[in-house]
C-alpha cells in the first residue's frame, strides 16, 4: 500500500477519459455535442487523449442557434481543421423555417429554448444513441443529481425519479430503440477545475473568454452584448465596457461580466474570488428556482 494518491486534475482527467472510452465501447452511433464553450473544448482535448493516434469514434455536433458570437464560430472552424475530425451542424434556423418552432417575440426573445427541438431532430436524423456533453454537477442543483450516463426517452426527456443507480465506475449504457443516453464525462469537475485544467494543458480558447472592449446594454441588471440579434429599443443605452464572458451560449441570453482579466491566470484568480456562480450569468436560469429542472425534463441538454 502506498499513500500516493493522484493529483485532483490527473484524477478528473483519467475519469473523463475512462468515460469517453466507455461511450466508444458501448454505443453504435455516439456523438460529442460541441458548443464552442470551454467545457466542450475541454471535452475535445480529453477525446484527443483518449483516442489518439486513432480517430475519434464519434463526430462533433454543433447546435447552431444562428445567434453566435462570431469568435466562437471562427474558433470552431479552426479547431476542426486542426484536429481533422468530422463536424455536423444542426441549424435552429432550419427548425424555424420548417415551422417546427416559432421565434420568440419581445425584448427578452432568445433562441436558447428553441435549440432543444433542433437538438432532438439532429439526434433523430443521425440516429445518435449517445450524446456526450460538457455539463457539470456543480453548475446547478438539478444537475447535482444527474447520472454520468443519463438515459433519455424517445422524446428526449429526463425523468429524475427514474434514474438508474450508478455504482462504482460501472456505467450501464443499455437502451431500447429510440432512446438515447446523455453522457457527462466532466460531471465531477467544478468551474475552477476546468479553468485550471485549461491552464495546465495550455488549451487555446475563443477570445471572448478574455477581457475585451465591447458595446453592451444593461438589461434586468445584467450586461448584454449589443448585437443585431438582441431586440433593442430607445430605453436601451449602448455603453462601451471592458467585459468577458464566463459561458458561451446564444448571444441573446449570455451575460457578460465586467472584467480586466486579460490572461488565463487573471481569470482563475477572478473566478476563485468571485461571489457569483457561472449560471448566475445566464438570464434564462433566473426565471425560477426550478427552471433548469423543467428544461431538462423537456430534453434540454
Amino acid at each position: 500500500m502506498s499513500k500516493n494518491r493522484l493529483d485532483y486534475l490527473d484524477e478528473l482527467e483519467a475519469e473523463a477519459i475512462y468515460i469517453l472510452r466507455e461511450v466508444a465501447g458501448q454505443f453504435e452511433k455516439p456523438a460529442l455535442l460541441f458548443s464552442g464553450g470551454k467545457d466542450s473544448i475541454t471535452l475535445v482535448h480529453l477525446a484527443l487523449k483518449a483516442f489518439r493516434p486513432g480517430k475519434f469514434p464519434f463526430p462533433l455536433v454543433h447546435i447552431d442557434t444562428g445567434h453566435n458570437f462570431e469568435e466562437t464560430i471562427t474558433y470552431r472552424d479552426e479547431m476542426i481543421a486542426r484536429i481533422g475530425e468530422k463536424l455536423i451542424i444542426g441549424h435552429v434556423q432550419d427548425s424555424i423555417d420548417e415551422g417546427k418552432v416559432i421565434e420568440q417575440k419581445g425584448k427578452n426573445a432568445s433562441r436558447n429554448a428553441l435549440q432543444t427541438v433542433t437538438l432532438l431532430d439532429t439526434i433523430a436524423k443521425h440516429q445518435f444513441d449517445a450524446c456526450i456533453g460538457g455539463a457539470r454537477r456543480d453548475e446547478e442543483k438539478a444537475r447535482a443529481k444527474e447520472r454520468i450516463f443519463s438515459v433519455r426517452d424517445e422524446f428526449g426527456q429526463w425523468d429524475p425519479k427514474r434514474q438508474r443507480p450508478e455504482l462504482w465506475n460501472i456505467y450501464n449504457g443499455k437502451i431500447h430503440k429510440g432512446e438515447n443516453v446523455r453522457v457527462f464525462p466532466i460531471s465531477n469537475w467544478t468551474e475552477l477545475d476546468v479553468w485550471n485544467y485549461i491552464r495546465r494543458e495550455n488549451i487555446p480558447l475563443p477570445s471572448i473568454y478574455f477581457a475585451h472592449q465591447r458595446d453592451c446594454i444593461t438589461r434586468n441588471g445584467q450586461l448584454m452584448a449589443a448585437s443585431p440579434f438582441l431586440n433593442m429599443d430607445d430605453e436601451d443605452i449602448i455603453e462601451k465596457k471592458n467585459v468577458r464572458f464566463r459561458t458561451v451560449g446564444d448571444m441573446t441570453c449570455t451575460a457578460a461580466v465586467e472584467s480586466y482579466a486579460f490572461e488565463l491566470d487573471d481569470i482563475i484568480n477572478e473566478i476563485a474570488s468571485s461571489k457569483i456562480s457561472e449560471r448566475g450569468a445566464r438570464m434564462d436560469d433566473k426565471v425560477s428556482e426550478a427552471a433548469m429542472e423543467e428544461r431538462k425534463k423537456g430534453g434540454y441538454f
Partner: protein
C-alpha cells in the same frame, strides 16, 4: 486574432486558486433528515464559504426558515422540486467544495430504509463515510443499518458525528456513552478506522470551527479531520489490473501495425516489461510500451487512463482484462456474492439477467439464494425472495467465466451490477466474494 494562447505563469504557483498536488476526497453522509444531515452538509458548505452570492440570495429569498428565524441550510442540498416540496432528500446529490488542503465531493444520499439502494449507490465511490447520530437518541436501528452498509461497501474511513450536542447541553457523558455503544456495533459489523466527533450542525459547533462549548473535546473539528485523513492506494504490481475498454487501431499507412489497448488501471501498477496474462483467454505476454497521449510512461498506477502495447500479437478485445501474471484474480462462472437488490420488481431466479463487471457484459442467473440479512438487526433470514432494498448472499452463474477479485480485497475488481434485460435498468449491486467449486 480569434484564439488566444497563454503561457503558464510560475510566479503565481502559490496562489490560492492555482494549487497543485491536491487530492480529492469523496465522502458520503449517512443519516436521516431528522438527524440534521442536510443541515450538516449545508453548514460545511456555508462555513467553508463554498456558497456563492447568487445561491445565497436564493437561500435568503426562500421562505423556509428555522424556528429561530435563521436560514435553513438544508435547502442547499435538496435538489429536485419534488424533494423541496416534501422536504426530504430522495436521490443521491453530489456537492463540491474545496479548502486549502483538499477538494471534496459529497455524495448526499437519503437515510431512510426505503432509500437503501440510493445509499449503496452513493457509498460505492466513497473513501470516507460520515455516520450521523442524534445525541438525544444515541445508537439506534438506523445506525446499525448505515454502519452495515458502510462495511458492506468497504468504505475505508468512518467518522461518527454525534450531532445535536446543543440539545444535550454539550454533555461529555452523553458523548462518551454513544462512543462506547458504537464501538460494540463497529466490532459487530467489522468497521475499523472510526473517528468520533461531537458536533452541532445547527449551531455550527465543531463542523468547521472548534467550539468553546465542547472544550472537553480535544480532537479535530469535522472539516479539519476531513482535510487531513489519509486514504491509501494499492499500487503493488501483484494486484495490477487493466480492463480493456477500447482497442486503438489507427490503420493508417504510417501506423499500420499500431495496436494499443486502452483502459484505466483499476488497481495495482504496471511497468514496461512486466509479464502479464490476458483473461479469460489465459494467454501471456509482456508489456512493451505504456503510452499516455503524446508521452511514453515507464509505469502506470491505479487510477490512470493509459494505452498499453504487448510484445506478442494476441487477439484482445473489449471485455478482456490484462493482469500481472504473478498475481492473478480468480476465474469462475459460479461465484458467491453479496447482493443488494435495487429494483421494484423482485429478483426472479428463473430469469436470465445481464451482469456487467468492468468492461464485460454477459448473461447470468441467480442460481442460489444463501440468505438475506435484516439490515436493522443484522439477523440472517432464510427467505428466498429478494425485493427492493433487500441485501443478502447469493450464488451467481455467468455465461462465461469472470476474472474477479474478492470485493473485500479489491473493490475495483470485485464490484459488478445486474441489469434486467427486459427494462435495461440496473437492478442489483454485486460484491463478489469467491469462486464456488
Amino acid at each position: 486574432m480569434q484564439t488566444k494562447k497563454h503561457t503558464p505563469n510560475p510566479s503565481q504557483e502559490g496562489n490560492h486558486s492555482l494549487r497543485e498536488n491536491m487530492d480529492i476526497l469523496k465522502f458520503i453522509t449517512a443519516g436521516s433528515v431528522d438527524d440534521g444531515k442536510s443541515t450538516l452538509i449545508g453548514r460545511l458548505l456555508y462555513d467553508s464559504e463554498a456558497i456563492l452570492a447568487d445561491q445565497l440570495e436564493a437561500l435568503h429569498a426562500s421562505n423556509r426558515k428555522n424556528d429561530d428565524g435563521s436560514i435553513d441550510l438544508a435547502i442547499l442540498t435538496d435538489g429536485l422540486k419534488a424533494e423541496r416540496e416534501q422536504g426530504i432528500t430522495i436521490d443521491v446529490a453530489y456537492k463540491y467544495f474545496e479548502t486549502d488542503k483538499r477538494k471534496f465531493i459529497i455524495a448526499d444520499a437519503p437515510g431512510h430504509i426505503q432509500y437503501t439502494r440510493n445509499m449503496v449507490t452513493g457509498a460505492s465511490n466513497a473513501g470516507l463515510a460520515i455516520i450521523l447520530i442524534d445525541a438525544r437518541k444515541g445508537v439506534i436501528e438506523q445506525t446499525t443499518r448505515h454502519s452495515f452498509l458502510v462495511s458492506l461497501l468497504q468504505i475505508q474511513q468512518v467518522v461518527v458525528a454525534v450531532n445535536k450536542m446543543d440539545m444535550v447541553d454539550y454533555s461529555e457523558d452523553v458523548f462518551n456513552k454513544i462512543v462506547a455503544d458504537y464501538k460494540v456495533l463497529a466490532g459487530k459489523v467489522g468497521l475499523q478506522n472510526v473517528t468520533y466527533i461531537p458536533v452541532s450542525a445547527l449551531k455550527g459547533d465543531n463542523i468547521v470551527y472548534p467550539s468553546a462549548k465542547i472544550s472537553w473535546y480535544t480532537g479535530d473539528s469535522l472539516l479539519t479531520h476531513l482535510e487531513n485523513v489519509q486514504l491509501e492506494v494499492d499500487d503493488t504490481s501483484s494486484h495490477a489490473r487493466l480492463p480493456v475498454q477500447w482497442v486503438v487501431r489507427p490503420q493508417t499507412d504510417e501506423l499500420h501495425d499500431y495496436r494499443g489497448y486502452a483502459g484505466r488501471v483499476s488497481s495495482g501498477s504496471f511497468h514496461v516489461n512486466d509479464k502479464v496474462t490476458i483473461l479469460p483467454s489465459g494467454f501471456s505476454s509482456s508489456i512493451s510500451k505504456i503510452e499516455f497521449y503524446d508521452k511514453e510512461l515507464a509505469e502506470a498506477v491505479a487510477g490512470t487512463s493509459v494505452t498499453v502495447h504487448l510484445a506478442d500479437n494476441i487477439d484482445i478485445s473489449r471485455g478482456d482484462i490484462i493482469v500481472n501474471s504473478a498475481g492473478q484474480p480468480q476465474l469462475s462462472n459460479l461465484i458467491e456474492a453479496d447482493l443488494c437488490w435495487m429494483d421494484t420488481r423482485p429478483m426472479d431466479t428463473s430469469l436470465t439477467y445481464l451482469v456487467q463487471h468492468n468492461t464485460k457484459t454477459i448473461r447470468c442467473k441467480i442460481s442460489e439464494v444463501l440468505y438475506k440479512v435484516n439490515i436493522n438487526t443484522l439477523e440472517k433470514d432464510y427467505e428466498e425472495d429478494f425485493k427492493l432494498n433487500d441485501i443478502g448472499r447469493i450464488v451467481i452463474k455467468t455465461a462465461e467465466p469472470l476474472a474477479f477479485d474478492p470485493y473485500q480485497l479489491n473493490k475495483a475488481n470485485g464490484g459488478a451490477i445486474i441489469i434486467d434485460s427486459r427494462t435495461n435498468v440496473t437492478v442489483g449491486a454485486l460484491m463478489l466474494r469467491q469462486a464456488v467449486d
